[in-house]
Amino acid sequence: MNKLLEIKNLHASIGGKEILKGVNLVINEGEVHAIMGPNGAGKSTLSAVLTGNPAYEVTEGEVLLHGKNLLAMEPEVRAREGVFLSFQYPVEIPGVSMTNFIRTAVNEKRAYEGKEPLSPKEFLSIMREKKKLLELPDKLNNRSVNEGFSGGEKKKNEIFQMAMLEPCLSILDETDSGLDIDALRIVAEGVNRLKTPQNASIVITHYQRLLDYIVPDFVHVLADGKIVKTGDKNLALELEEKGYEGIA
């Protein structure tokens, strides 16, 4: 199996407060890893640090993506290398249309890979095909990014962008929060269909519910900035039953 991501002794802080206190994790191609843990354990910090959010400071440790030093890359370069974050709170961008936004993103990635930009026709046909996957209405194309979208539409829109960008590492940060059961099923099916033997996902979640749909190969418990326990999908069930205190 090929190593996709290696996190070694990662420490990170925000505003001088240490949140991650030595995270170690190896993710191979084709794997789905769930990260669970109580509020404030550092789950969202981990996704922010992996994607290069400037609000966080890495104080120690190393992260390698396909053997390359991820932490040295600008956020946009990490994205073009294939790191994708489905945001817990997708951002509204008034005045920037969905179509213009996604086309710019797709063509930036293509340029980085030395490919020609997609013609408007090619782009629209790919977009139409990927939209079906998430059952997203066409009317959203002409709207500003996430503006006036319902909670469910915002989350579907994140997975739609993931489908368009075909990342090698997808981080789903609390993608299930705020979703009703139908939207959850659509989002999860979308994620499952995008799975290939070459890519991998990190699924950050509070609840076991999402993991009924996106079945993880590994479940990690993050508590107080460290991974304190690792198991298979049964660990999630155990957590649901006993709570974090019963485990950690």
Binding site: T51, G52, N53, P54, E74, P75, E76, A79, R80, F84, L85, F87, P90, V91, E92, I93, P94, G95, V96, N100, F101, I102, T104, A105, E108, K109, Y112, S144, Q161, L165
Partner: protein, 207 residues
């Protein structure tokens, strides 16, 4: 001074000029002007609605770099009721650019049923850019609809990061946000060719 006679329509887009305009609007006349500035200028606009049922629309956009400075002064006076005025004034300031907006809106005691809106929004793209806003509202009639809003802010960092996370480089993400901020002023230009030309000129970096 210019007089817009009863029912007359005056519409003009001024691009990169200093505009000095004083217009007296008679009943039912319509005025719509755009002040688009990409370099230093001084604009002084005085509009007096002296007849009933006039419409006044003033749109201004200044996008400045270096040490450029634009001062835009508007004086809108509703001397008679039943009229409408709408002002949307935006400044985007890079580097050490300076913007100054003086907006003087007056509704006299008898000018009932007047509707007047003045909005000033500014985007500061550097710590050394400077914006001064001086709204002055004198509303003496009671049966009117009048709104006023002024705000000056910076680019939304969370939106910038969101775009970068999708692989859009920071400079381009910044330009997309700046263009989005400016677009609504240009979108109100009636002349389609000119509107598209100006929209393309600000979009050029992205397409």
């Amino acid at each position: 001074m210019k007089v817009l006679h009863s029912g007359e329509i005056f519409e003009q887009v001024f691009v990169d000029e200093s505009v000095n305009l004083h217009v007296m609007q008679e009943a039912g006349s319509k005025l719509k002007i755009h002040l688009i500035n990409f370099s230093s200028a001084t604009n002084a606009i005085t509009i007096e609605q002296v007849g009933e049922g006039c419409t006044t629309e003033i749109y201004a956009l200044a996008y400045l770099h270096g040490t450029e400075k634009v001062t835009t002064e508007t004086h809108v006076k509703h001397a008679v009721g039943g009229g409408t005025s709408n002002q949307l004034i935006k400044f985007v300031l890079e580097d050490e650019a300076q913007g100054h907006f003086i907006g003087d809106l007056k509704i006299v005691p008898d000018a009932q049923k007047t509707e007047a809106h003045q909005t000033n929004r500014n985007l500061l793209l550097s710590e050394t850019a400077e914006m001064r806003t001086q709204p002055q509202l004198e509303i003496y009639a009671d049966d009117v609809q009048a709104t006023h809003g002024a705000s000056t802010g910076q680019l939304d960092e969370t939106a910038l990061f969101y775009m970068q996370q999708r692989g859009i480089n920071k400079q381009k993400a910044r330009q997309l946000l700046v263009n989005a901020f400016m677009k609504d002023v240009l979108a109100t230009i009636s002349d389609e060719t000119l509107r598209e030309q100006l929209l393309n000129s600000i979009d050029g970096v992205v397409e």
